[in-house]
Amino acid sequence: MTKIKSLADLKAMKQSVQEKIDTRAKGKAEGLVQVKIAMATCGIAAGAKNVMDYMMSETEKRGMDVVFTQTGCMGYCHAEPTIEVTLPGKEPIVFGYVDLKKADEIIDKYIKDGELVEGIIPVNYEKINN
């Protein structure tokens, strides 16, 4: 059976596949907002997984291009779940105690408009090699 009979069919299929592989496309692209989510045992226990799922689907719903990566323990176990947000050209900022409500606020204010919200953890280390 022929699956694609017209240009519209092709476009529809392209769109549906693109959503599946855009994690790869985002990795290739430059200048996107990066969000790292601490997903060590402490983070996961505190609900980081839900936060990541929520943020991924929310940003997509709102049509925002954000790269999500999970990372290891950032060392702020007291403030889990913690996430680190890097806007293009800016220093990374770490937010603590991120629940779904906080996540929503971060997306809506900081990621969208660059407006800082409560809950910032001062970074206490230097990183090498990005």
Partner: protein
Amino acid sequence: MAKFKMHLLVCGGTGCNASRSQEIAANLKSSLKDNGLENEVQVILTGCFGFCEKGPIVKVMPDNTFYTEVKPEDATEIIMEHVVKGRKVTRLLYTDPENKQHVADSKHMGFYKKQMRIALRNCGYIDPQNIEEYIGADGYTALAKCLGEMTPEQVINEIKLSGLRGRGGGGFPTGLKWEIASKNHADQKYVVCNADEGDPGAFMDRSILEGDPHTVLEAMAINGYAIGATKGLIYIRAEYPLAINRLLVAIDQAHEYGLLGEDILGSGFNFDIELRYGAGAFVCGEETALIHSMEGQRGEPTFKPPFPAQSGYNKKPTNVNNVETYANIPIIISKGANWFNQIGTEKSKGTKVFALAGQINNVGLIEVPMGITLREIIYEIGGGIKGGREFKAVQTGGPSGGCLTQKHLDTPIDYDNLIAAGSMMGSGGMVVMDETSCMVAIAKFYLEFTVEESCGKCSPCRIGNKRLHEILEKISKGNGTMEDLDTLTNLARVIKDTALCGLGQTSPNPVLSTIENFYDEYVEHIKDKKCRAGVCKSLMQYVIDQEQCVGCTACARNCPVNAISGEKKMPHFINTELCIKCGACIEKCKFNAISIC
């Protein structure tokens, strides 16, 4: 279906495949399952990443982590550390040879910084066996655009405007080739993809077919639409089993999805593709020989004209293009000729894929914009010469090309500059040589190849190259005369002028260009009976330094032909008549008493 948060891309090219990348992928999958992550992390076998030196490669997206020399046993560690705990497995990261630091992701690797991947855009990015991934990566939209919005003339004009030239070696303007084929009328025309990659060391066509087969199918369909052909044939050598396999899968899928066959996308355009297998003869890469081979005749070239565009396969107008040329077509149509012709130099547009090989740190497949210099390729992308030795020459264009030397390091690389420098683009083999390479031996190597592969139809190539080879053999044995050098040059020019096909005409190039650039080395072989690189065995002699030798007898005991004699605790001697120059004595000598001169 749930969306995957992380993608593990495992190289499934021939090279990494041979280093058990299939097993790596299987282990990654089973380890993901053990951790209940099979719905969150996707494992995909892709085409070649190009960094074959350090294969097998596993790339993690979206963070671009680039793991090198991965073994199947490492799979669990990658899953447990990187995926579960989010810590990169440092020991598998690429180490920068200069500062010995681990490089966290591919964007910071010197190998990729200067590259621009157009023909290889999907290699190492999508699953070549899944048509949906190709569609997701913009695949088949160029075909749709041609069928829906463009007339065949517009398609041809777009390709002409792009300035794309044939990537198989000759560099003939692709758009012009299409136009000629479109203007010849016949009841049946053919589109042929030349996948008979024969240059020693070149493997870009194979990698494209393995890593992104659909792009070639799509381009052939576009080509068919443009010239009015409904039938496509891919001539591929039978020694590329993985590429053949992936092509067959791709053709089946394209049929299933209605992107090949009848009435494609409801446009009324029909196009179908079949494979034809070659037995691996070098000459079958020449288009007339290729066509004869497909017809079941002997793979021998015939005189042009008539060109294949006038009378090709089954005497019908036929357009033959190389794999890499085709890989450029869909993206030119999608992004427009004006996007493409901004890249490259005035007369050579776009990019070129090179297979980097020889005495260089980063052996692999690279794609660079035309106009890049040899220096950038060798020292920035290639990571410099192995062992920090001195650069001597780079051979481009395979048996049809020549050598570029130190003085060409800053020449922008394009079709015309390479020809001016006495070499040629060819299909893109690039063999880097250092001071340990003997240029007479190199010329002899390529001549051996030509003598072996000559189809024998015309005498200049069949007999002339044989004689060239004999003279080179004579020089490398230390029996050459200065007249031989003149004979070499003259004979080479005669072959160039009189051979029947392009391959014959270019076959003396390695000889001419090494004489031109390394005349001194030839003279040394002839007059001083010396090979400075220590490659030509007949010109080497092993000598024991009488002062250094303590008479331990280690060399004499290990000499396989008993050529070394001497009393215990007394200096030893080598009988040069018996010596076979195997080097076993040098290895065994603890006092550095044996040297080559």
